[in-house]
Amino acid sequence: MWNDLLMGSPVYLSAALAIIIILVDAFSGKNKSLTFYFALISLIAVGILSAYTMNMHGQPVPEGGFSNGMIAYGGISAVFDILFVIAGILTLFASQSYMRAQNVERKEFYSLILFAVCGMSTIAHANNMLILFVGIEIMSITFYIMAGFFRERFTSVEAALKYFLLGAFATGFLIYGMALIYGATGGLLDFEAIGAKMLTGNVDFLYLRIGFALLIVGLSFKVAAFPFHQWAPDVYQGAPTMATGFMSTAGKAAALAALILVTKAMLPSNFDPALISDKIIEMTDFTTDAKWLIAIISALTMLVGNISAVVQKNVKRMLAYSSVAHAGYLLMGIVSNSINGWSGIVFYSMAYMFMQIGAFVVVGIIEKNDGRMDLKDYTGLSKTNPMLAAIMGIFMFSLAGIPPFGGFPGKYMLFIAAIESGFTWLTIVAVISTIISIYFYIGLIVYMYFKDSETPMTEKFGFSKATLTLVISTIFVILLGIFPTYLIDLVKGLF
């Protein structure tokens, strides 16, 4: 029982602390830093526990006990936990100075981060469709609130409402898909049990296919994949910048963790040869179709994301579309359906988290409270704020996948994984869309360094907590680019 409790502790602790922080918030009155530091310490505690449980993944999930076998332990879920926690901490630091610059510091934002981390780690630890669903809902509802956090601003409220409406729409399909799979497998919700059942081929394929399709629909919405991506640019642009950074990185990683869980269970590759042959044929047909489906979604997502980003004049919106495109790259790992692909997803999510949050922090700093977010607002940044421009340049290079920054090894791994699994055409599409993406990433650098305008950036920006986020992100983007093998080997060993 206690071992069970310890092994699942990141989830339990984050949930408990999320509830406690409500009380902290309620009783701390006007004191905003108390909530801030409580959230910070909570996140660090969750992170430490995740790191501590990371190597426990070899142990079987105990039946009964505290979680009744519904929570998976350690291993890759712990890595995801750490990712969420880091994203949370980075956002926490950045959001404080961001909200102060916007003159709307509300301490609820800090508790929301904790809630979101709780939901996301529930997703990563899910061993059961219901837990997965609960996690997705905790995360999504938190995100709806975060998107509408600036409640006096129309853009923010509009973003929240749009996100909520479409999100609820997508959630319906998600739960419907789960129900159909439950039926198709003869009453199973457990991922391991579903996986075992799939290997026997003893399932109802019509319902399974529809159910899987609906699951993919629901999760594609969460990762913002084509054609369920349209909310993303609007919401990401309207939401507070730090919330956008958080949603588009940690949220995406959580949805990908869910996709890994689902596809790992439902698209097995090692069939038992002793089975009746027509079941195997039907089974392989299903897995091939499913992979092709995800591959097509992935290809269209990156093309649409990158092509749309080319014409954007607003940096935040451009980054939002680039986030859509990145969902496409990350789906390549799902398509490859192998350990290489999955570890590529984990690695790239990690690198992407640092560069995307970092880029949004820069956007947030420059935005201040008069909403300067257009490309032309970045002209002359290299002269007035050389460090800021250089850091933004690093993030842009990394997002474009140029070595020696973190984006390169991530993309490389995903591309190789796709080729290994026979989807060479997908890699070609990915390379083409990467080339398209260089156009707008480098475009921003051109604006920062080589363009003149009548209203150049004149302000100098000083030190704040957001600088801490920037420094950490920059260091990790570079470290992940130069020493990628450490993380890759760690992750590969945990699957």
Binding site: I19, I22, L23, D25, A26, F27
Partner: protein
């Protein structure tokens, strides 16, 4: 297996075709003269006036939140109470946790001034 559903699909297809055909047919064939009255929003014969973005008083939301806290509590507690003897102490602790969480929400509302009505 899917062949069994063929009549249904034919039915759906026919329905869709007829529906779309009428839609476009009226668009194509019908005469259109737009007047000011026709363009205006239909409000059951009333003349539309003011903005639709009316703000409601915060009290409505407060009532809704309090209702959620107490109502959901009750909805879960009835079946729990009926079955308590059979499901034993696990359920007791589970319900306790649930009530504590709701209680946290109640306290939050209280401290944030949710019950101060004036």
């Amino acid at each position: 297996m899917l062949v069994d559903y063929l009549p249904v699909f034919i039915m759906i297809a026919l329905g869709a075709i007829v529906g779309v055909a009428f839609l476009f047919g009226s668009e194509y064939l019908g005469a259109r003269r737009s007047t000011k009255v026709k363009q205006s929003t239909y409000e059951s014969g009333m003349i539309p006036r003011g903005t639709a973005r009316n703000r409601f008083t915060i009290k409505f939301y407060m009532v809704a939140v309090s209702f959620l806290i107490f109502d959901i509590e009750v909805v879960f507690m009835y079946p729990w109470a009926v079955q308590l003897r059979e499901i034993g102490f696990t359920a007791f602790w589970a319900m306790l946790v649930f009530i504590v969480i709701l209680f946290v929400g109640y306290f939050y509302e209280l401290k944030k001034g949710g019950f101060e009505w004036d």
